[in-house]
Structures are given as C-alpha cells and as structure tokens.
Amino acid sequence: MSSAPSVPAGALAAGTQLASAACRRGCNGLWVLLLMAAVLFCGGGRVRADEASGRWSGEVEGRGNYFWERSTRVIVPTFKVTAESPSGVHLKADYLIDVISSASIAQTGGGKDGVFTELRHGVGSAVGKRFAVGDSELDLTVHGKYSTENDYVSYIYGVDSSLTLDDKNTTLNLGLTRVDDHWEIAGPVAVGQSRTPSLGGFTTRAGVSQLLSPTLVLSGGYQLGVLEGFLGNPYRRALIGPLPHMENHPHERLRHNFDAHLAWFVPRTSTSFHLFYKAYIDSWSIAALTPELRVYQELGENFVARARYRYYVQDHAYFYESPRYPRGYTGPLTNDPKMAEFESQQLGLKLEYRLSFLARSIFDFAKETWLDLSFDRQWCTSSFGDNVSATAGARLPF
C-alpha cells in the first residue's frame, strides 16, 4: 500500500486544458491556482482511498459581528467550515455578508448627506495538503476570496506554504497573494477619470516561528505589499481652496510590515500571555506602530476569559493636508481620515464557554462546542472617532 500522493492522469490533462483555455482568454494566475487546488485535491483523494480506515475531522463555525461608530454601523454574519482528511488534505470554505449603514456624503456618492446601506458578499475557500519531507512536514495551500458590492468586485488569491524543521521546533512560512479589484463608479466622476478603474497588486510574506521552551513561542515575519492602480475612494472629495475635488491618491503604493509575536504559558495559573508588535512603513510616508497585549485565563476546563489592550499610532501621508489644500494645488489629494496623523487605544474582553455538560445527553455530539462573546471599545483621535465592536460565535468540532 503506497501512501505517496498520485494524481490521476485524466485530472491533470483536464486541468491543463482548462488552464490553457483560460490563459488564451487573457486570464491570469487565478486559473492556475484553481488548477493547483484540483491537483492537490485529486492527489489527496487517492491517498484517502488507501487510508479508508481513517476519518475526517474539522470544525463548523458561525459568528455574528457588530461594529458601531459615529457615522457607521456594520453587521457581519459569517460562516466557516474546515475539514482535514487523515492523509493531510485540508479544506476551508467561508461566507460573509457585510451590511454597512453609513451616514456620510462620501458613501452616498452625491453631494448630499444621508443614510446609505450597502451589502458586501464575500466567499472564500482554500485547499491544501501536508506532505512528509524526511523528518519535516511541508504544507502547501492555495486560497481564493471573491468579494463584491454593488460598485466593485475584488479577487484575492494566492499560495501559502509552511515547512517544519528540527522536530517541529521551527516553522518557516512563505506566502504570495494577488489582489485584483475592479470598480464601477456610481455617480459623477472627474474629468479624465475612468468610470471603471481597477487596482492590482500582490503581497508576499516570509515568517518564522520558534519554540523557545515548553511554554514559550516566538514568531515573526516580514510582509511586502505592492499595489498599483486606483487607490482612492471615488466618492470622497477634498477641498482645494473653497471647492471640492475628487480624491486623487498616488497610483502606486509600497507597504512594508514587520511583525513579532511572543506567547508565554504559565502552568501554575493556566494563564497565557501574548505580546504582539507590528511596525509598518509605506511609500506614502505613513509609519505606524501597533503593540498589543492579550491575557487568556483558563478557569477550569470549560471556561476561558480574555482581556486585551491594543495601541496604534501613525504618521500622516506626505500629501495629507487639513482642512483644505491651498488654491492652485495640483498634487495628490485626499480627505481620508486614515491618511492623517492619529492614535488609538483599544480595550477588549472576551468570554468562552465549552458545552461539556451536554456529554451523555441526546446532544452529546455538541459537547465540544465552544460559545464565545466579546466586546471591544476603541478610543481614536482620527475624525472617524471612537468605536465599539462586539462578536458572538459558536464553534462545533467534528
């Protein structure tokens, strides 16, 4: 009995024809990724047949998210399923609907204020497989996300990989993600401005995670993001002198992210400490720092409480002016609050409870379900103002 993945020749041939046809139509890496996903999945299917005695495991998760700030309300129900076969094939699918109610001129797309409600649908999926490479393990995953509102469509897709070394003491990560957005602007556009602008780009991330002791893990990484195309908001206006003009951001942006995460477990009290630190700088001269501390306290086997504090501070973009640009100004324009210099502080509390009391009842299948409820308050000095977010969710492993 062989456990090596093998791909049926028919699947490969069909996949190759599909990809070739797609590329002839001027398409791109999305089709190539779909083909890779099919190959991974087909290979896993063959192995699964060899290991028929095993069983799939996974998790179903449902979640309701709520966000509130001075001019915006967002409600986001989300749903996710993950599954993994005994042979190491793993799948993920998720769906969300973003219900955004905003009271602003920018979002209404016209010159008057009013309440505007918008829906965003997002569908994501991922297929991956773990391979044994000597004493190490290699995980390859292809993923894609489709997101749409009434005036834009976004495709995000890519490949993630991880390799464990030194008896899984060290894990190396490498990922590449492509972003492909298309707008169809409703309402007036500036002279010379396309009604259907687009945005393309990619991000690539390299990271490492290292076990420092039986209770201490340190990880860190670097991410480079390159974006090119329409990077503004087509409905936002900035003032040059007394007159409003359509926002005009530079058409290229280079982002650098450095992040680190230290996790420490204290056995005597069953307390976990997580310290996060992110440093960011981009080609628009925005530099930002984000330290965060989370503390998880286990209270028995079925209850976990989490407290967190997050601080964020950033410089302004080089072309940001407030409240208005001088008469005759011809450079990049913005009226985006996140281009300004500001800081924010966030406090949050989360409670999790496992339904273990359902064991040996008719609901025994749900005894490993975790329910959670969280509440966060953020104080922000930008013109977005303060905000509140809350989530409630349930995770059912199977």
């Binding site: 492909d180 860190g220 930008s382």
Partner: protein, 74 residues
C-alpha cells in the same frame, strides 16, 4: 520613530535566533495545546477585526493576513 522601531524589531529577531538553541521534545508540548495558546481558534473573529482596522488605519497587512483591496481600504 523609525530608529526605535528598528531597534525593537532587531531585538525580537535576536531573541528568536538565540532561542533556537533550545530543543523542545514532542512530549513537552502539552502546555502549547491549551486554549489560551492556540490562536487559530480565533481566526474568523480576527479576520473581521482586521477588516475593521484596515478601513480605518493606514497600516494594512502583516500577520493578520489582510491584503487590502476594495471598499476604500487601500
């Protein structure tokens, strides 16, 4: 601010490299499996939070796996 950032990032990486000398055996990892140490449990909630931050902060990306794209989050 950039100099301070560089120093802190360097320190983290130094600790990471030096810490690599310790070898943790498989049977010594029970603590790492505790709920408070497993942040993959929070992946879906983290995605929502990252999207909310992306729409309001200039610094997008990093380990949150967010890439920007669409809805004025760039």
């Amino acid at each position: 601010m950039q100099a301070r950032t560089g120093t802190l990032v360097t320190l983290f990486w130094l600790v990471l490299v030096l810490g690599g000398c310790t070898h943790v055996r498989p049977y010594e990892r029970e603590y790492l499996a505790h709920p408070g140490m497993d942040l993959k449990r929070e992946a879906l909630a983290t995605e929502f939070e990252a999207h909310a931050h992306d729409a309001r902060e200039g610094a997008v990306g990093g380990s949150s796996d967010s890439t920007g794209g669409g809805c004025g989050c760039n």
